[in-house]
Assembly symmetry: C3
Homo-oligomer: 434 residues x 3
């Protein structure tokens, strides 16, 4: 038998396929994470949104979004249906990142957005909003937009800003325009906690996401460079920094909870782990080992602070904490790039920081603006939000005609006590026994 | 250090191992999908059947089934225990497909089949029924049976008919002979809905299955052909068509639900996504990009229609909708082969269709006949079905001596209202508040 | 375009990355398996411990444990932060095995250990206890400790003793010192069953673990040996023996339950499947195909026997049965090495058995001693166990300030009836209707 040699291209594409599958699996993680954090009367709504985000979004990205990205990036129109073979693998690889950005939003608008409003927004995100972002950055034909303006390249390895920061900002914007769930805030602006229905599903989702995230971050590195270089240094560094930042995010968020309340809130730890992953996602390939500690600690520690700020100062009902987890952590990690890099990576710290800040501004500004226009339009048409009766009844019944747990629960989903991400844990628990 | 070259064979087998692991993980998907769709009193029964399908089935396929397949396929007896090294990897790769076919049946017979009846059937399926099917097709030593008869090769890339169509037909046959669950149909033939106990587990299972399905479909392609050709075209096409058909299946089934009831039934969307995957499974390597849309739309749209037909016309209690998801979608996709193919793939449309139809007929006829003989025999011996008392009490207690949720629920599992796959959503919900 | 050749090194590391991700995903499996087996009032505590085991443990192993292992193994201090590139991939690969050992303990001490006690122990395990074990075995610079003493090499391919046996012994030791949960045993030494809150999560965890285990066992084999040999024989054998032993473990444990009670306890089957996996983990590369049947049957069959012995004779409350699943099955498989090996593998059966027994003794003795010292010290400081009031209330509230299922359940978690791993199934069920 003739011994045939495998090419670097074939090994690269084998890897790309495997990590694309892993990143696709993150939809199971998002579905569980979000389902666990909503009331039982809204679980099926959350699950359906996740299924439709993928199904509708990936179709739109195939037909339109991939073409828009190519044009914005400076190339001729090249939608995915015009591809073949490896071009379709490249498309799938791009699509699973795009759909990650899209699905983040659903957690912020849980419990009161109309399904048709959410679907409309998802279509526009997949067709235009996200493709414009990557057209400015990843799919730039020659020199990226940020580099043209600032003179320095914008560093976002796996989408810390492009995917997660963008998704978190979109979610926060949509949640702000939509308004909070009934009973979430009192007339004096103080907040009530509406605990999710299952911590188990939330933590399951967290761990599924972390699993897929290895594909997201490490899988953004090729095995071989185009010149035949084995990317050992990059692969190893990304694997290490991703692991350390994730770990420190969980520890830091848990520690903050412990300092504040004397208890280690499970959801802080889980969301802190995710924030640690988000924080490193822009810069896993350049960050020093000690820098991964810094990124993870800051990403985890900012979570409860930003969550409380959004809740008590802005009175925005970001149900699944998508802004502190994806938005602010993504921005933070992107901005930290020059300060935590391994020696020799960044020659001009100031210039690099300006490029990062300008990239954050452009992506954030575009996302916020486009999202605001769409949701204000939906609101003006009376299409953004379900009726108070339907919200009270739950979206599972009003939007989907189903009951998630027909054999369990009281059926009366009320604003209840619970300790999720609240500093009034003991106080609310005390009221339980009334 | 000497730089050693990796061979195409080693890369192929690395890929085969990874996708085999993914396909194995589909058992977690089936377990969750089925558990979510049954009453809480029957969950442990469903979980146990899934664990035993894999454990018993894979053992039987190792000792007997693999040998039967080789003999039916025209080779000498070659059971898996006679293999070594790569032969065992090939066996595992075949076994995870075989066990997918086997586990489909458990969803159809939920809630009333005796465990020993199900296990008996699983043993015979793994030892004979499925091995005969693959002996006629995949393991044919020279020319497959269908080709000998029709003059045209039978196209079933990853088992749209061989695995899923076969499993769906087997499930429907077993469910028909077993009879419906108590209270499922009224004396006038009208149907009552018995909603599953957890939409969350059902959707989790759906997404786990979709994750594993990438291994199932894309993993059916080698990375390198035997002549050293990098299979880039095939890998890319399969990845693309699998993604598009899955997406369109979910959208089409959801759209049908929405047209019928004004609501987007979560379980329709989830099962539609799976039907889209099943539909493309026979033909992902040849279907044009627009053909993937056709296959997905038809596979998703037929789901509610076939489900209602089976329910209201045949009065068969196919608990987890395995026939519309795996059976009819598998048959449909297999038959669509010549009509949705990329240009140049099919030279004789009529001949190709005859081969596909004959293949469906042979596999379907054999599966239906063998399954009917076994379940009628079990029924005649009084071994097919648990007693009405045990069915009322739930199979978790009577067959397994356990309670799945000892702290939740009323303990009285009754035929209840709910909107799963019913057109009477509003009517049944209205009755809830009585 | 120049066709570039992939190296064996790059293929090996692609494989190592993928299997490391799979092994990391086992944390989701452990989290679900353990959560399902505890009362609903202790679920969040179990989930948090799993998140923190990974987060804290991997950090400690990065900073300290990897260095300790290198020194104990006879090399200079080489902590992971001193590595780069492939060294970090090697570290991650080692870390996911280390964290598997660590997380096993949490299932044994469920429902009454203080979080800070568990975290303290986890830190010491990751820094010292486990590194010493691998320093004696896997990271031995030249000749391993066991070989120096006995003259024969210690065979533990993927950590049947080093990871699982060690974790199971540590768990049992900690559980013994901690004492049982309130109400677990009566004054006369007889046992009460405290059933877990969700069989569905327990089985989900089982299947996630089995999925990851393919990475654990098959992934312990390189694709290519250092001399450029394609490890086809080893890869195939490990895939086969792992599959068969897992299957037989489930069947054997289920059969024992059926013989004892006439019912097939779901949790026996699930834990038996895991015991079958543990049993083969030390020796998947050398065991004959028939030997895999032997290992699986014995590993599964010992499960109920050892569980009952620990429960009724030792009165140790090993909540998630980690000793019978990981401890005794790991020891058993390690000791079976010379008796189930393929022809030609073991030249001196007696010598090989002595080496295996001595390895078990050294690892088990070290683990038991170090664990006992730590937990006795924690107990002496009054830091090992929560107060009876907190235990009654549940650790979710007292340690984490959260409620896992705020909408479900009575809130009164009492010692209840149920059939989990008890021979008194009918008796306890009878009492339910009181």
């Amino acid at each position: 038998m003739v011994l045939l040699q495998a090419s670097t291209e074939a090994l690269n594409y084998t890897w790309i396929l495997m990590v694309s599958f892993l990143i696709f699996f993150m939809h199971a993680g998002f579905a569980m994470l979000e389902a666990g954090q909503v009331r039982s009367k809204n679980v099926a709504n959350q699950l359906t949104k996740n299924l439709l985000t993928w199904s509708i979004g990936v179709t739109v990205f195939f037909l339109i979004g991939s073409g828009v990205a190519s044009v914005v990036g400076g190339a001729d129109w090249a939608a995915a249906y015009m591809a073949s073979g490896l071009g379709w693998i490249d498309w799938l690889y791009g699509a699973v990142f795009a759909m990650t950005a899209a699905t983040i939003v659903s957690g912020a608008v849980a419990g009161r957005a109309k399904l048709r409003a959410y679907v409309t927004y998802t279509i526009l995100l997949a067709a235009v909003i996200y493709p414009v972002v990557i057209g400015f950055t990843w799919s730039a034909s020659e020199t990226g937009f940020v580099e043209i303006v600032t003179g320095y390249a914008f560093a976002d390895f796996a989408g810390g800003m492009i995917v997660h920061g963008m998704g978190g900002i979109a979610g926060l914007t949509a949640a702000a325009i939509l308004g909070p769930r009934m009973g979430r805030f009192n007339e004096d602006g103080s907040a009530n906690v509406i605990p999710g229905h299952s911590m188990t599903f939330a933590v399951l989702g967290t761990l599924v996401l972390a699993f897929g995230w290895y594909g997201f971050n490490v899988g953004t590195s090729a095995i071989y460079g185009g010149d035949g270089t084995f990317m050992a240094e990059q692969l190893g560094r990304v694997a290490m920094t991703t692991t350390i930042s994730m770990a420190m995010g969980a520890i830091a968020a848990g520690a903050v909870a412990w300092f504040q309340t004397g208890k280690v809130d499970t959801l802080y730890v889980a969301n802190g782990l995710l924030a640690g992953l988000v924080g490193i996602t822009a810069i896993p390939h350049t960050t020093a080992w000690w820098g991964a500690f810094v990124v993870g600690i800051l990403s985890g520690a900012q979570l409860p602070i930003v969550f409380k700020f959004v809740e008590t100062k802005l009175n925005i009902d970001d149900v699944c904490a998508v802004f502190p987890v994806h938005g602010s952590a993504g921005v933070l990690g992107t901005l930290l790039y020059p300060f935590v890099a391994a020696p020799g990576v960044v020659s001009n710290v100031g210039g690099a920081f300006i490029a990062q800040a300008f990239g954050v501004f452009v992506i954030g500004g575009w996302t916020l603006t486009a999202t605001a226009v769409i949701w204000y339009a939906l609101k003006a048409m009376g299409e953004a939000r379900v009726t108070p009766e339907h919200e009270q009844e739950g979206l599972d019944v009003s939007e989907h005609g189903v009951e998630t747990y027909p054999e369990f629960g009281s059926g009366d989903s009320v604003v209840a006590d619970g300790g999720i991400m609240t500093e009034d844990i003991e106080a609310t628990r005390g009221s339980k026994d009334d």
